[in-house]
């Protein structure tokens, strides 16, 4: 790399000013769309977007809807709802030349309103004296549920074609508030993903997005340290 820099410096004698493009990027989470096709228990969509505010900071967010049918061994339920996440991404990747990729860390505030219906369940009994009670069909509905959480995002975005980006991110989620239904729990929260016994969760997305450039800035060429 340094060899390349030197070679370039010798040829052109100075580095051309770096052009930084600012604009809006928007797209969708491909994994949710794909899963909606092959998984009969899942319907979901998530739109993603960000706006470049400074050289390294982006205002970022996601908006989506999920309809998930979970058929676990002991409980089966359906969760439907809408979620919104807003926050920022910090690009820690120093691009060279005209590359415009991102390896970023970010945070989000997430909120979801959703409903749940308990489809069926089993009664847990440590005694095996009686034959196991058959699965109970419920159909109980719980409306007006809400949750709020924060996410720490680690992700990357790579420009694969001009202005077209593919991205991947993992998210560590922590619930802030969670209205639980009476005598049931929010085992899945749209946008948050499945819940575990504590407040933590893990989410991810694979996005494809389009960058709409709005304006450009030229950063002054850096003084060449090799030059006297």
């Amino acid at each position: 790399m340094s060899f390349l820099m030197i070679a370039q410096t010798k040829k052109k004698d100075s580095i051309p000013p770096k052009i930084e493009r600012y604009g809006i990027r928007f797209g969708a989470d491909i994994s949710k769309i794909v899963q909606s096709f092959y998984d009969k228990n899942y319907k979901g969509i998530e739109f993603v977007g960000d706006y470049r505010v400074t050289k390294n900071y982006y205002l970022a967010g996601e908006l989506g809807n999920e309809n998930v049918n979970v058929e676990d061994d002991r409980v089966s339920f359906t969760t439907k709802g809408t979620f919104l996440k807003v926050g920022f991404d910090y690009n820690s990747y120093e691009n060279w030349l005209d590359m415009r990729n991102m390896i970023y860390l970010g945070m989000r505030y997430g909120a979801s309103t959703f409903s749940q219906s308990l489809n069926s369940y089993k009664l847990y009994n440590t005694s095996t004296y009686f034959s196991e009670a058959p699965r109970v069909i419920s159909g109980e509905k719980y409306d007006g549920l809400t949750s709020q959480w924060i996410e720490v995002v680690l992700g990357l975005k790579a420009e694969v074609l001009k202005n077209i980006y593919v991205g991947f991110s993992v998210r560590m989620n922590r619930l802030l508030t969670n209205t639980k239904p009476d005598n049931f729990d929010n085992l899945y929260i749209p946008g948050f993903n499945r819940t575990y016994n504590g407040d933590f969760g893990i989410g991810f997305n694979y996005s494809v997005s389009y960058f709409l450039p709005l304006y450009k800035t030229k950063s002054a060429p850096k003084p060449d340290p090799n030059k006297k």
Partner: protein, 167 residues
């Protein structure tokens, strides 16, 4: 670009490693409680009394539960109906002195959510008017169960005695 590819691989592997199988219901979790019965001496009602070769059998079930040398037993209640009728045969191994009494427990059921791994459990509340019905065999051999006292009608844990039987 190499750096990006490497990170991609790392992130994808993190995603798949998080897709683990659902946890199993922990044995220490309080689930559907059994009915706890303690036996006391009718002549000395504060003293616990051990049962000898007690066979406990739900009337519609073929197998029976055997207890001996203990004053405390745990028996399950049916979660599919509001009553469970048990036959209690004392000295069940000796046909010359065995004695069978029936106790039918009447209750209401509450279904309580436990967790994703355990599902739901059933708690029971013994009927306040008629918590139990004591009956004899068709050929009466006299009651060995002298008195039944409901210690608590709320059956939600196995940490307390629900029913006391004096004999």
């Amino acid at each position: 670009m190499k750096k990006i590819q490497l990170l991609f691989i790392c992130l994808i592997s993190i995603t798949f490693s998080s897709c683990e199988k659902d946890d199993i219901c922990d044995a220490t979790t309080a689930t559907t409680p059994k009915l706890i019965i303690e036996f006391y001496d009718i002549l000395n009602p504060t003293v616990k009394k051990n049962v000898t070769n007690l066979a406990v059998k739900e009337i519609n079930t073929t197998s029976s539960l055997a207890f001996t040398g203990t004053s405390k037993i745990k028996i399950p209640l049916r979660t599919s109906q509001d009553l469970t009728k048990y036959s209690f045969i004392l000295n069940s191994t000796d046909v010359t002195i065995d004695n069978e009494d029936f106790l039918q427990f009447n209750y209401s059921r509450q279904t309580i959510f436990v967790s994703r791994a355990c599902g739901f459990k059933t708690n029971f509340t013994l009927d306040s008017a008629t918590p139990y019905i004591k009956t004899e065999t068709s050929i009466p051999d006299g009651y060995w169960i002298q008195n039944v006292v409901i210690n608590t009608s709320n059956i939600s844990t196995e940490n307390e005695t629900h029913v006391k039987i004096y004999f």
